[in-house]
């Protein structure tokens, strides 16, 4: 583990100047470190945060990595770089590269840093240096380990068993809401009270219109007069609002916070230390969330800039071919599989081009005439500004959802492929399933990080968890031990409501010979019916029962109808 030499550092500083001239924004200080292969394996297990707290799973991963390295020694890869979102940002390299390659990599790294420091998903990581925070956490964990021995390890383990349920978006919303307080009366009326009345939508809008009219006619007394009217219709309104204000507290962002606030076991004086541990695990998970949610954008952004800046740099002369090879190794589209560098880069370039031609406008979207669409070019010059806006405001889901269209899919010859078993030839066959943008988007979206949505409530001392139906089951093998862990933290019975499929029809494929080659002509996916089930964990034992209530069936039906 060494800091790069002065010569390379000088190159880095020059790269910073040029990157800034092109509009990238990042902090002045950066730290560049060269790692040996073994150090990479060790740091990988710790998410490349050297100050991360110690935990046995990371040690197993380290041994696993070292073992794997013994069997398949990895090639020392010239383009290796990892950037951590700390203050200052730390970037890791594998070897001391030739200057021209270093310049190319430095541009890539600087774009990553720009992304970390400007993308809104990272807002909650801007205030602190996570490496420093992790060091404090590591010391806390070490102290608690001395005091509580292996029960500390269990606490970390059970907290990590639910650390993917962190309410990332709820935290983000809280951080933007500067003074958290209960809703004003109008907010309460429309967001809470009237929602419980089950009014038709037209009625709801009429109420809104009425309120707006009162307020616009008389900005001082209008609201009072509106509520006087409503009070007559709903006599309970005033009392309910008073109770709401009195009982209001900031709601927990996720199931972990809920357990910390409400677990009778964790809130005993002798177990308070566990809450410290859970908070550390939760904080660590929250820190990594934005990185997981912006993988395609972040890599695309870095590739977009290293390509653009390096092509303008005088150091490319004489290394054009090597640059082309290196660049292609990173950003070529795979024949099969998703390369986030490749898709991200092309999508940023596409957005820039579309914005330059004014094609992101409503007017263009409404245009149906093919010739007119082909020729459409408003020459707006907005391209650069648009890609900067996109990098500031979006995550992978929005990025893919808003900008990936049929023109993009056609231009880069993208498709969704499927693997099918051919029982006659006894082999798995890959075929082109669809070249429609809709299907491609659905496929990419399906590969994005999307943890299950699980909410928690306390029903008479039992922690009841609810896994909201999204057409997917939980990994059944992991449910038992996860529940045992949660029951330990709760100190009592825990139930989980979730959904499990039963396959009712088998999959089938029909093939035909078309123009001398075998073609897949029809595919039937297996059909399944979904059954609500309840797992109950009590004293390290987990049982399962089927639920047949109407509420459960309604949730499945609602999801499917919304999907359609």
């Amino acid at each position: 583990m060494n800091i790069i030499d002065q010569h390379a550092k000088k190159l880095m500083e020059r790269c910073k100047d040029r990157a800034r001239e092109s509009g990238l924004r990042f902090s002045d200080e950066t730290l560049e470190i060269i790692l040996k292969n073994e150090e990479i394996v060790r740091l990988e297990a710790k998410g490349f945060i050297p100050t991360m707290y110690d935990y046995w799973v990371d040690e197993v991963r380290t041994l696993q990595g070292i073992g794997a390295y013994e069997i398949f020694p990895r090639r020392t890869y010239g383009m290796f770089e990892i950037v951590t979102n700390a203050r200052p940002p730390i970037s890791y390299y594998n070897v001391n590269n030739p200057d021209w390659l270093n310049v190319m990599i430095f541009y890539h790294v600087l774009a990553h840093i720009d992304f970390f420091q400007n993308n809104a998903m990272f807002r909650n990581t801007w205030r602190d240096d996570f490496a420093g925070q992790a060091l404090a956490d590591k010391r806390t964990i070490a102290k608690l380990r001395r005091e509580h021995g292996r029960w500390l390890e269990y606490t970390i383990e059970f907290a990590r068993a639910i650390d993917n349920l962190v309410g990332f978006h709820a935290e983000l919303a809280k951080s933007m809401d500067r003074t958290p307080e209960p809703l004003p009366k109008a907010g309460f009326y429309f967001d809470v009270f009237i929602q419980g009345k089950d009014l038709p939508q037209s009625e709801f809008f009429r109420e809104m219109e009425l309120y707006n009219r009162f307020v616009s006619e008389d900005s001082e007394q209008g609201e009072q007069r509106f509520f006087a009217l409503k009070q007559a219709k709903y006599p309970e309104l005033g009392a309910l609002y008073e109770r709401y204000r009195k009982e209001w507290k900031q709601s927990p962002s996720d199931a972990i916070e809920f357990i910390m606030q409400n677990s009778p076991f964790l809130n005993k004086a002798e177990n308070e230390w566990m809450k410290q541990v859970i908070e550390i695990v939760r904080r660590t998970s929250l820190y990594f969330q934005p990185q997981i949610k912006t993988k395609i954008m972040n890599e695309g952004w870095a590739s977009y800039w290293h390509e653009q800046l390096f092509m303008q740099n005088e150091r490319i002369s004489g290394h054009e071919v090597q640059f082309a090879v290196n660049n292609a190794q990173i950003t070529a589209l795979n024949r099969l599989g998703l390369n986030p560098y490749a898709v991200g880069l092309r999508l940023f370039q596409y957005i820039e081009e579309q914005a330059d031609q004014g094609r992101l406008s409503h007017e263009f979207k409404r245009l149906r005439d093919i010739t007119a669409r082909d020729k459409y070019d408003q020459n707006t010059g907005n391209g650069k500004q648009s890609v900067f806006d996109v990098r500031e405001q979006m995550d992978d889901f929005l990025f893919i959802h808003l900008f990936l269209d049929q023109d993009f899919v056609d231009r880069h010859k993208l498709f969704v492929s499927e693997r099918r078993f051919n029982p006659i030839a006894k082999r798995w066959e890959y075929y082109v399933k669809s070249r429609k943008a809709e299907d491609y988007k659905r496929m990419v979206t399906a590969t994005l990080y999307h943890p299950p949505s699980v909410t928690a409530e306390d029903s008479n001392g039992t922690l009841s968890l609810h896994h909201h139906f999204e057409g997917q089951r939980l990994v059944p093998e992991y449910i038992q031990s996860t529940m045992v862990g949660i029951a330990h933290l709760w100190g009592g019975t825990v139930t989980l409501r979730t959904y499990e499929p039963t396959v009712t029809t088998q999959p089938s494929v029909e093939m035909a010979i078309v123009a001398g080659a075998p073609r897949v002509v029809r595919v039937e996916n297996p059909q399944a019916t979904w059954q609500a089930v309840r797992y109950t964990a009590n004293d390290k034992k987990v049982t399962k029962e089927a639920l047949t209530g109407e509420r459960e069936l309604a949730e499945v039906a609602a999801w499917f109808s919304e999907k359609r």
């Binding site: 150090e39 050297p50 100050t51 110690d54 040690e59 197993v60 380290t62 041994l63 696993q64 073992g67 794997a68 013994e70 069997i71 060091l135 269990y154 068993a161 639910i162 993917n164 349920l165 589209l333 099969l336 880069h412 010859k413 993208l414 969704v416 492929s417 499927e418 693997r419 099918r420 082999r427 798995w428 066959e429 075929y431 082109v432 669809s434 491609y440 496929m443 590969t447 999307h450 943890p451 299950p452 999204e470 089951r473 939980l474 990994v475 992991y478 031990s481 996860t482 396959v503 088998q506 999959p507 075998p518 073609r519 897949v520 002509v521 595919v523 996916n525 297996p526 399944a528 390290k540």
Partner: protein
């Protein structure tokens, strides 16, 4: 902030240095606390560095994850791609592995066997052959026998001065320096080559050496292996399994020796012999009835003659059975057929799976051909419950060459 705390001076001091033993000890403690153990240890054979086993611990952090496995094992799995191909067009395939029917296979003939693949042989026989040749010290073939013209290629292997297709820079530089030393332009006692006056060198066209195209014929050896076994009722169970297991290893070894240029034919016999189309059938079929070993060897001889195979291939025959035969007279006729086969084979191996010598073995050893032609025919007797090591030793016995150290 202070970076000395962030980047420690001694490497790795920020890692708790647990050994695998310590981790496993702690994992064992979990049971006493009422939780499941969490660490699995896998043993992996490290390639290329001798017979090294690497221990790799793995663990899974169990959480509520969405299950991304398909609903049905046979249902399709989607992924993204790019490039040419119309909708519905196949763009690639991979062989299925671990298909049902292998393994215990009790329903289908009570025989365990290998997996799938080419002729139903699992994994890549070439890789298996490579591993068993190297790790288990099977001999390499010294003589691969007949070679056949496989291809003619034009390659830039010949050299010519003055004209040609591609300048051979190293040799040209050699020649230039030699000529210029002779001319005195470069002092003959030059040791520091940076002092050579490259700008003033005399370049004679004759010193420029080129590579030129030439026809290069390539030859290769091809092998054809006849696998034959007794499939009568007495072979049911372990004996058949042993024969097939050993023959798979032999096949892998040959595939490696002949660089994949190996073809196979499969023969089964009871009182009569028949050829079966693939390995799958070969190791699964069972029949009632007696045994006449002669039948299969005369069948193979007939096939080799009719198809003129001896001209085009290096031929190997490997036979496995339990040594039972219809009678001594028939065994003698079997030995006669074997002697005929010896006129064209590179090697004929006979494996008898039994706990004692049976009638056929006795006739075979009396005939004296084992002693007369040890480079063409080999014989091995293994017991029904022989382990893998014994099977490998058996292969060594069957395939080794005289004068070649194991």
């Amino acid at each position: 902030m202070n970076y000395s705390t962030l980047v420690p001076q001694t490497p790795h001091s920020y890692f708790a240095a647990s050994t695998l033993d310590e981790l496993l000890q702690r994992d064992a403690q979990r049971k006493n606390d009422g939780f499941f153990p969490r660490i699995n240890v896998t043993k992996v054979l490290a390639p290329g560095t001798g017979f090294d086993i690497v221990l790799i611990p793995t663990t899974v952090e169990e959480k509520f994850y969405h299950d991304t496995r398909p609903l049905h094992p046979m249902s399709g799995q989607e992924q993204t791609g790019s490039g040419e191909g119309e909708e519905g067009e196949m763009i690639g395939y991979e062989p299925a592995e671990g298909e049902s029917g292998q393994g215990s296979g009790k329903k289908e003939g009570s025989q365990a066997g290998a997996g799938e693949g080419e002729h139903g042989l699992g994994n890549d026989p070439y890789e298996i052959g490579k591993v068993i040749t190297k790790k288990l010290r099977l001999p390499n073939l010294r003589h691969k026998g007949k070679q056949f013209l496989a291809d003619r290629q034009f390659e830039l292997t010949d050299r010519n001065r003055g004209s040609g297709q591609l300048v051979d820079q190293r040799r040209t530089l050699d020649n230039l320096i030699r000529t210029n030393m002779l001319l005195g332009i470069i002092p003959p006692d030059t040791t520091d080559f940076t002092t050579i006056p490259f700008d003033n060198l005399l370049v004679s066209p004759n010193d420029i050496e080129y590579r030129i195209l030439s026809v290069e014929p390539t030859y290769e050896s091809r092998a054809l292996v006849f696998f034959a076994r007794d499939y009568s009722a007495s072979m049911q169970g372990l004996p058949a399994e042993q024969v097939v297991k050993q023959q798979i290893l032999i096949y892998s070894w040959l595939v490696y020796q002949y660089q994949r240029k190996v073809e196979t034919r499969f023969f089964l016999h009871s009182e009569v012999s028949k050829e079966v189309p693939d390995f799958r059938t070969y190791f699964r079929l069972l029949t009632e009835g007696g045994t006449r070993i002669e039948s299969v060897f005369s069948h193979i001889n007939a096939v080799v003659e009719a198809e003129n195979l001896a001209r085009d291939y290096n031929i190997y025959i490997f036979y496995g059975g339990d040594g039972d035969d219809l009678g001594e007279a028939f065994s003698k006729r079997a030995v006669e057929e074997i002697e005929k086969a010896l006129s064209y084979v590179n090697r004929l191996g006979i494996t008898i799976v039994n706990d004692q010598e049976r009638s056929f073995s006795a006739v075979l050893s009396q005939s004296g051909i084992l002693a007369k032609k040890p480079n063409l025919i080999r014989y091995d007797l293994i017991s029904k419950d022989a382990d893998q090591d014994r099977l490998i030793k058996g292969i060594n016995k069957l395939v080794s060459e005289i004068g070649v150290k194991k």
